[in-house]
């Protein structure tokens, strides 16, 4: 990979996406063997710079870095200098001064990772772990990794796969990254949501739009349910949780309309009973826990490639 940072799926070519996924596959193969931990990044320091609470993403990156033997510094905004008014720039410069070579940043402001990478504030590699309502590129990569494991005939080309993303598209960085990545690999993507939860301008995305989950669900090879945040209701994006769940939730009755080989995905954390019923989340078609496991693998691949690994590792190179 030529890139220094991973900021947005927008920046990646299909070949680069496949390179990351292939590297992940090799890392998975190696770590499934006798070697659980690779010495590749020994002595190198990675910072988890989290301005938003996100335990699962932070832990996933931490696990990925540690399996590559990197030293990990965790920084969370709560109770830190940030709550005393320190800026993103100062925080990042401080951590770099402590030896960070790669910064994994989660921030509530869209574009924060790009600013960190491109403003000349720091020299480190930057990985976007979610910026506002913009992108969450490693989530899309792990989702694609999960999808291709279940559709091996589509390993290098998602043409013919129809993937539905359901729910709060407007505020979802997961939806933005996935719409870009899945279509870049050739999949048909349909966004399914009430009009209030679709951004103005979505017509310009390379996707189809539907307001009706029931008319779409039977055509999908993968259905990705997005978390619905309860504060959206108070902002009048929809009238009530009950009405939302009825029209856009993956309930137990609706589950029966799914193709037998379709997979159910969710980036987590789930609101069981709202966007997804317990029966759907726990069904045989659900791959939600696989997504979590694949998250660590894919993030290992990203760290490995950005910090100078060759594209397809062999055990000889790694050791």
């Amino acid at each position: 990979m030529r890139a220094k940072h991973l900021l947005s799926i927008q920046d990646l070519t299909p070949a680069e996406i496949l390179e990351i996924l292939d590297t992940a596959r090799e890392l998975e193969r190696i770590t499934e063997g006798s070697m659980k931990k690779l010495p590749t990044l020994r002595g190198r320091t990675v910072v988890n710079l989290f301005f938003e609470d996100s335990t699962r993403t932070r832990l996933s990156f931490e696990a990925a870095a540690k399996r590559l033997s990197a030293d990990v510094i965790n920084f969370s905004a709560k109770g830190s200098s940030v709550s005393k008014g320190e800026s993103l720039k100062d925080t990042a410069q401080t951590l770099e001064a402590m030896g960070a070579e790669l910064v994994i940043v989660r921030h509530h402001s869209s574009g924060a990772a790009k600013r960190l990478a491109e403003s000349g504030w720091i020299k480190s590699h930057v990985v976007n772990a979610g910026d506002g309502t913009h992108e969450h590129p490693t989530q899309a990569l792990l989702d694609a990794y999960t999808i291709r494991k279940h559709f091996p005939q589509n390993e290098r080309d998602f043409s013919g796969l129809r993937i539905g993303i359901v729910g709060d598209i407007l505020h979802s960085r997961v939806a933005r990254s996935n719409a870009l990545l899945l279509t870049a690999l050739g999949a048909q993507v349909v966004l399914i949501a009430p009009p209030t939860l679709l951004p103005v301008g979505v017509e310009s995305w390379p996707v189809e739009i539907s307001y009706n989950l029931d008319s779409e669900i039977g055509k999908l090879d993968a259905i990705m349910m997005l978390r619905v945040q309860s504060e959206r209701m108070s902002d009048a994006f929809f009238p009530s949780e009950r009405e939302y769940a009825r029209d856009f939730g993956l309930g137990t009755q609706r589950l029966k309309k799914l193709k037998y080989d379709a997979i159910i995905m969710h980036p987590g954390p789930m609101n069981r009973g709202l966007e997804i019923s317990a029966a759907s989340a726990d069904s045989k078609q659900s791959v939600i826990l696989e997504q979590v496991a694949n998250g660590v693998i894919v993030r290992m691949a990203v760290l490995y490639l950005l910090m100078g690994g060759t594209s397809v590792p062999t055990e000889g190179v790694l050791v």
Binding site: H107, S109, G111, D131, V200, G201, V202, S204, W205
Partner: protein, 433 residues
């Protein structure tokens, strides 16, 4: 001063005529193709002579935010940009909502002596949109305020807006509205559209601007008062103003130089130098604004010069302040977007950047080159290409979105009340006493 004077020779006016101008003290005493005078000759070297520019929308930040601009540094930037009058917006700390504050700003402007500084008064106390400020006291003060605006915030309450429009009729005032429905723009970061949908930045719908413009046009008509619309940015807004004028409603409108040139795709860099209120819009809007300025639907170009210290821009987008500086680049942006493109001639530029704003503000002494008027004029090189350098600004701030861009037309000399305050683009050190 009255014994001092000069004879400006070898200059061309906006209509292309060679002209000579005799200045005695603060006043133009002769002006024709050939003037007889004993005063020393100022050779204009074929430059264009225009009346000094007049800005209706300038954030000078003093009192309260002197780290970004002062009345003096803003006056220096104005003089260099060819402005001989600016209108200091009311959103200072404290807010310019009393006679005391507007008089202080006016006094600081006189002390600077580089251009006229006409304070704008707040419409409501503290810009809070709840209670009318003492508009009459500001009008009767030494600052003689005629324009009132809560700029930065919209007077969104329709009843309060109605009262303000009615109230200022007694002293010939005008309400300058920052048209932005607050509820439709809560947390908004950039123009709502294809670009915001991809960037994940909260959208600022054009309808939030247009619905207030429509409402206030109807209101101004209903109470028969004068409405001025600040920084128009949308195609729909231009159409609303065009309709209002066709109905004979007393509305005027302004556009900023940046909205004539820049579009919302610049936000893709997430560089907050492009973050501004109202936001940069689409190319379609830009073209509608240019057409509206050319045909007179939009009366004036106003800078909305909004200085900010670097820490308010050297950060992530959502944490950054809204605003761009513009005094030192305004004329060149208008030349580049309107004259180079053949949409407007120099006489129309003079109307939009000097005559019309002086009329709207009631700024006697500005807006026209004529015998017995104040000698407020500039000499411009209309063809000069130059590259904007944010480090070279006279403004105390450097948040220009035009850094690195090459623009056409430069202000060479500025004369304010007969005093040459700018020579070859640099401060002379002289001021009007």
């Amino acid at each position: 001063m009255s014994s001092h004077g000069l004879l400006v020779k070898n200059v061309v006016d906006a209509s292309g005529q060679l002209i000579e101008i005799e200045v005695t003290g603060e006043v133009i005493t002769q002006m024709s193709a050939s003037v007889q005078s004993d005063f020393p000759i100022f050779d204009g070297q074929g430059l264009l002579v225009l009346p000094g520019l007049v800005d209706l929308h300038t954030h000078l930040r003093e009192p309260g935010k002197e780290d970004s601009e002062t009345v003096l540094s803003g006056s220096q930037a104005a003089a260099r940009g060819g402005y001989t009058a600016v209108s200091a917006m009311a959103n200072t700390f404290p807010v310019a909502d009393t006679a005391g504050v507007v008089e202080q700003v006016a006094r600081l402007g006189k002390e600077a002596g580089l251009c006229d500084v006409f304070p704008i008064g707040a419409v409501t106390v503290g810009l809070e949109g709840e209670q009318l400020a003492e508009l009459s006291a500001m009008a009767q003060s030494a600052a003689a305020v005629r324009i009132f605006s809560d700029d930065g915030k919209c007077v969104s309450d329709p009843l309060l807006m109605r009262r303000a429009l009615e109230y200022v009729k007694s002293f010939g005032g005008v309400i300058a509205q920052h048209a932005q429905d607050p509820s439709l723009t809560a947390g908004a970061q950039m123009n709502e559209g294809a670009i915001s949908s991809k960037l994940g930045l909260k959208g600022w719908p054009s309808v939030a601007e247009e619905s207030i413009i429509a409402r206030d046009i109807l209101m101004a008509h209903y109470v028969q008062s004068r409405l001025h619309i600040c920084h128009l940015t949308t195609k729909g807004g231009v159409e609303l103003v065009r309709w209002a004028k066709s109905q004979g409603i007393k509305v005027s409108a302004e556009v900023t130089p940046h909205h004539l040139l820049l579009t919302d795709d610049l936000a893709s860099s997430y560089d907050p130098v492009y973050k501004v209120n109202p936001p940069l819009r689409t190319q379609e809007d830009v073209l509608a604004l240019r057409a509206g300025l050319a045909d007179g639907t939009i009366d004036v170009v106003a800078t909305d010069h909004a200085p900010h210290p670097s820490e308010d821009k050297d950060c992530e987008w959502s944490a950054a302040a809204f605003g761009m500086i513009g005094l030192e680049t305004a004329l060149s942006v208008v030349v580049t977007t309107m004259i180079d493109t053949g949409l407007m001639d120099w006489q129309t530029l003079v109307k939009r950047m000097s005559t019309a704003p002086a009329e709207i503000g009631g700024y006697a002494g500005h807006g026209e080159l004529a015998v017995s008027r104040q000698a407020n004029f500039i000499l411009v090189d209309p063809k000069q290409k130059w590259t904007v350098d944010r480090e070279a600004m006279l403004s105390r701030s450097s948040n220009t979105p035009f850094h690195g861009q090459t623009l056409t037309g430069s202000v060479v000399h500025t004369f304010f009340k007969g005093v040459q305050v700018i020579r070859n683009g640099k401060l002379t050190g002289m001021k009007h006493e």
